[in-house]
């Protein structure tokens, strides 16, 4: 009985795959992907996302399911396993109707053809020009749009006001240069007793690019060319910024766990309340608040002042193999609407994806959220086709580079070899 049931399931799966292949190719040849009539209500839409942005996605889905006849079902995967899951599911034609992606990985998925073309649907939106442009660029190729913003995140400095007071620092004067950041961190570290000056993901490519690159940008530097094919990490700006962090690791201002931090326990370290000041994702703000910490939020400065941020987070698109394209778009377009952006996302103190809605009542109620909104305009989202393999993967050349820069014998040497290794990874076909 076991076997026949499975055989039948296998046969029906084969049939479904066949149908998918046929309809899938029909859609892509049609180019515009016209919504199929009558397919937008009462449909179950499957969706995948990564753990990092789960809470935002779940809040959006709950609000949508409560007010619509369609039903979105979410599956969440651990951050580090998520890209590989997408890849293997794509190869097996087993992608869900919608899947999200870290915005920096989006160009690769677009070039692999994993998302359906939604250009005409997107252009039909009345607010299309107000949607964060760097995210649209990441999800586009050859003038066609494949993915839209889903959950925005920024990198900011968090400083613990309680510890600031204890160390005799002014809790209303966060650092305005990276040098000040280091000085304040060192002052906090003097408190001792399990309290440390600062924290960083010392074994996490994604963490360091998210929190350290903004300082390089603030100083007018770049980490690679605009096309994402040539690394420029061996620059005076990068050298100066990384030198500051290298010093903080060397003299023990960094908590000891930071050296091996691969991202899994990064939030936990800040939640403990024993870190004076550290850069981190803005999306943690509400979590840190829930822990009862009196956290201030400040922009990430450059060595000589200025400020910038890494505009990160997720984009979402409809799988090229989905058979519920119209219903899926119904959900996705709703998530960019005013109701979802303000009453779901802004209400939860998260970053919104539309510039025209920045001055909403929730943002104005919390000065820390305003800091986030202000720095958004100065931020960047780097673009590269081979982003994951070059920067985020644990075996990526960037991870090797940053380890060399922080802990190796020579910072200069690490950046020089790193630049060529990253470039050759970026250029790999």
């Amino acid at each position: 009985m076991f076997r026949t049931r499975h055989l039948r399931r296998a046969v029906s799966a084969a049939m479904a795959a066949l149908v998918l292949a046929v309809t899938g190719s029909a859609c892509s040849s049609g180019g515009s992907g016209q919504p199929a009539a009558g397919a937008t209500t009462g449909v179950t839409i499957t969706m995948w996302t990564r753990a990092g942005t789960q809470s935002q996605t779940q809040a959006l889905i709950d609000a949508y399911n409560a007010s619509h006849k369609n039903h979105v079902v979410l599956t969440v995967y651990p951050n580090e396993q998520y890209p590989a899951k997408i890849a293997s599911a794509a190869g097996a034609h087993a992608l869900p109707d919608i899947f999200t992606s870290d915005v920096v990985f989006a160009p690769n998925y677009v070039s692999q053809g994993l998302w359906a073309d939604v250009t005409s649907q997107f252009n039909a939106l009345s607010f299309k020009s107000d949607v964060v442009p760097s995210f649209i660029r990441a999800g586009s190729a050859n003038g066609k749009v494949y993915a839209i913003p889903h959950a925005l995140d920024l990198s900011v400095m968090y400083y613990n006001k309680t510890l600031y007071k204890k160390a005799g620092l002014d809790p209303d004067k966060p650092p305005t240069t990276l040098a000040e950041y280091a000085t304040q961190a060192r002052a906090i570290a003097k408190l001792g007793g399990g309290v440390y000056g600062t924290y960083e993901g010392g074994n996490c490519g994604g963490c360091v690019e998210f929190t350290v690159w903004p300082s390089i940008w603030a100083d007018g530097g770049q980490v690679m060319n605009a096309a994402g094919t040539q690394s420029t990490i061996d620059s005076p700006q990068a050298q100066a910024v990384l030198q500051v962090y290298r010093g903080l690791f060397a003299d023990g201002t960094m908590a000891p766990a930071a050296k091996q931090e691969d991202g899994t326990t990064w939030l936990g370290a800040l939640e403990n309340g024993n870190i004076g000041i550290a850069p981190g994702p803005f999306s943690w703000y509400s979590l840190l608040k829930q822990k009862g910490l009196d956290m201030g939020v400040a922009p990430i400065p450059g060595v000589n002042g200025g400020q910038s941020t890494f505009i990160g987070g997720d984009v979402a698109g409809i799988s090229a193999t989905s058979s519920h394209e119209a219903a899926a778009w119904d959900f996705l377009s709703w998530t960019l609407g005013q109701q979802a952006q303000v009453d779901v996302i802004a209400k939860a103190s998260e970053m919104i994806a539309r510039t025209d809605l920045a001055d909403n009542q929730y943002a104005e109620a919390d000065p820390n959220v305003l800091v986030g909104n202000q720095v958004l305009a100065k931020g960047q989202t780097p673009y590269a086709l081979n982003f994951n393999a070059s920067y985020n993967d644990p075996q990526s050349p960037w991870t090797t580079t940053l380890r060399g820069a922080f802990f190796g014998p020579s910072l200069t040497q690490a950046l020089a070899t790193g630049q060529s290794a990253i470039t050759s990874s970026l250029q790999q076909q």
């Binding site: 890849a87 190869g91 692999q112 053809g113 091996q260 691969d262 994951n388 393999a389 075996q395 290794a421």
Partner: protein
């Protein structure tokens, strides 16, 4: 519990086909039996052809193509192979895998043989000891890797407190990700714990096939234990040792689970194995063609290695 216990020693050297065929009727009966034989072997043939031989051909075919996740492959030989030469991660992974294989095989073999010699003779309680040593082998390897993730962790593991109590270390050590040596040590400990009992049992079967009279004769001649081990045990155990070594070497060369779960290839790529690179090529770089090329290379190397091992083994047996 079963009267017809299958004991290999009782089995005829090659039972072959039933010899009951009488001249005259022989050929027709033989044909009929050949057809039946094929019918019974058919499921095996189907599985081998579909799930083993077809993928073998396919992997070679894939290695000659640019093979995207979705869409049509395009022929690009020999690009997938030539690009491997520039893969620095692969080079360090090959070097690490070889080093790991040597270390792992030596440690695991020494411990396994030691355990086997320890529980070789029947004494009171020896059954319990064998069970205790073997028990970890019943735990799945992925499960064991997860167990050690906690066991060796500096957050909750008991290892640091115990070593500190004994005065062997002064401060907690981050065994798994603290240093390349610590990471390798963690893996070697895990694999030894999980597989020593398993290999012990195999070695034990070989040990028990050595006639007791040989030892008694040697003892009468005044040989001590070490001499017995060198002159009798090891030479007679050679076929079993060869089997165990082949399994250990192959297993180490293809190691993946323990690195993926425990060290994630780190710190600083110091425990990135060849198989991890294959998986990375396929599912991080989305290059199935390159992963296939690497797989073909691994296959060729392993085949050569196996042929070498077998021929060395055969030559030794002849002499």
């Amino acid at each position: 519990m079963q009267t017809t216990t299958v004991s290999p020693q009782d089995a005829p050297p090659d039972a072959g086909p039933p010899a009951g065929a009488r001249p005259g009727r022989r050929s027709r009966r033989a044909t009929r039996r050949a057809v039946s034989g094929w019918a019974y072997a058919l499921p095996t043939a189907a599985v081998v052809a579909l799930l083993f031989l077809t993928p073998l051909v396919l992997v070679v075919w894939m290695s000659l193509h640019h093979w995207p996740l979705l869409g049509n492959p395009t022929f690009n030989a020999p690009q997938n192979y030539s690009e491997l030469a520039q893969n620095n991660l692969l080079m360090s992974a090959v070097w690490f895998t070889l080093r790991y294989t040597v270390i792992m095989t030596v440690v695991l073999f020494a411990v396994s043989l030691g355990l086997a010699l320890l529980v070789q003779n029947p004494r009171p309680g020896v059954g319990l000891l064998r069970t205790a040593y073997f028990l970890p082998a019943a735990v799945g390897f992925a499960t064991a890797s997860l167990l050690f993730l906690g066991f060796l962790s500096s957050a909750v593991g008991p290892v640091n407190p115990i070593l500190q109590h004994l005065g062997l270390i002064s401060a907690p050590v981050d065994w798994i990700s603290g240093s390349p040596g610590g990471a390798l040590g963690s893996i070697v400990t895990l694999v030894t714990w999980r597989f020593a009992g398993f290999n012990m049992i195999i070695l034990l079967t070989g040990l028990q096939a050595i006639p007791v009279e040989l030892y008694e004769a040697a003892r009468v001649d005044g040989a001590n234990r070490l001499q017995c081990l060198r002159r009798i045990t090891l030479p007679l155990l050679r076929p079993t040792i060869a089997l165990v070594l082949i399994m250990m070497i192959t297993g180490s060369l293809l190691a993946f689970d323990q690195f993926y779960i425990l060290t994630k290839g780190g710190p600083d790529d110091s425990t990135t194995s060849v198989v991890m690179v294959i998986v990375r090529e396929a599912f991080v770089r989305f290059d199935l063609g390159s992963a296939a090329a690497l797989s073909v290379l691994a296959l060729v190397v392993l085949l050569i290695l196996n042929v070498l091992q077998l021929s060395i083994l055969r030559r030794r047996n002849d002499s």
